[in-house]
């Protein structure tokens, strides 16, 4: 339960930040008459998308097939929840262009979150590689 809660907080922070950035861009260039209520809607969408993220991404499949299944189910759940919320909150109207725009917006948030994770992992890995090479450099010299 603690593991789930930690992951939930982690994904909620990342997703909500991404959603706020996309909303700010949208506010600036597309729709200039958004209400303050949108902030609560962003927080709620952050909660609802962080739940499947914490549930699915905590599974560690051993096989390549399992990894692919996990990622595909994560992408499907995130896109379904996000696009459903876009219509429920009336952020977009039902049209092909609106659906395409919302897929683009969700993709931007998804890429932002994935990039942040990857950057943080890369930084940690660089530290680990340094520690590894420091410890075993004597062995390598032999």
């Amino acid at each position: 339960m603690k593991k789930f809660f930690d992951s939930f907080i982690h994904y909620f922070a990342y997703i909500t930040t991404g959603a706020l950035i996309v909303a700010a861009i949208f506010w600036k260039f597309v729709q200039k008459d958004m209400s303050v209520g949108i902030l609560w809607e962003i927080i709620l969408s952050g909660v609802l998308t962080a739940i499947p993220s914490a549930l699915i991404l905590n599974i560690e499949p051993e096989t390549k097939k399992g990894i692919i299944i996990c990622w595909v189910s994560h992408i499907i759940s995130i896109y379904s929840i996000s696009i459903a919320l876009l219509f429920i909150f009336k952020w977009i109207e039902f049209s092909v262009s609106a659906i395409l725009l919302s897929i683009l917006a969700v993709s931007l948030i998804y890429l932002f979150t994935a990039e942040l994770h990857f950057y943080s992992d890369k930084r940690h890995t660089a530290l680990l590689n340094d520690a590894l090479h420091q410890r075993y450099s004597k062995d390598n010299e032999k």
């Binding site: 051993e62 994770h117 680990l128 590689n129 590894l132 062995d139």
Partner: protein, 153 residues
């Protein structure tokens, strides 16, 4: 506990190599390490079909459990070992070995470099170019082992 001073001296020509421990109360971890160092665990009987070979722990890249059998993977050869994975984990935890997934124990000394993967996992590229996955659950143990965090064993 106060850190202990470590002095390494070169023995003179013909003198036997010795470890002298000068302390008031020997730490249990230290005694365990020294016991393991001199123990039978430095060589592992490995089976290649019917042939038995003694493998040095230093030559093992990783141990893996596959369908209730445990294998020791060396640079090129693979041997079956008769120990259970948890026994190997206990016996070799002081020799740079650590659990990296439910079915694998990795020799950290054989890692060439690490690469990040999605979802907090790490890919360890070994010195023989083989790639193994370090599960996210065990990354804190690796960090602790390399002195980067307080968690882990």
């Amino acid at each position: 506990m106060k850190a202990m001073k470590i002095i390494i001296e070169n023995p003179s020509e013909g003198e036997e190599e010795t470890i002298i421990l000068r302390c008031r109360q020997p730490d249990e971890r230290l005694l365990q390490f020294l016991n393991n160092y001199n123990s039978e665990y430095t060589n592992i009987p490995g089976y290649d079909h019917d042939k038995m070979t003694m493998i040095s722990y230093k030559d093992v890249y990783y141990f893996e459990s596959v369908e209730n059998r445990v294998y020791a993977y060396c640079e090129e050869k693979v041997y079956e070992v008769k120990n259970r994975l948890y026994e190997l984990e206990q016996n070799y935890q002081h020799f740079d070995f650590m659990r990296c997934s439910k079915s694998m124990i990795l020799n950290i000394a054989k890692i060439d470099y690490l690469a990040p993967m999605f979802n907090g996992r790490l890919e360890a590229v070994l010195k023989n170019n083989e790639k193994v996955i370090i599960s996210r659950q065990y990354v804190p143990y690796l960090k602790a082992n390399l002195g980067l965090s307080e968690g882990g064993k």
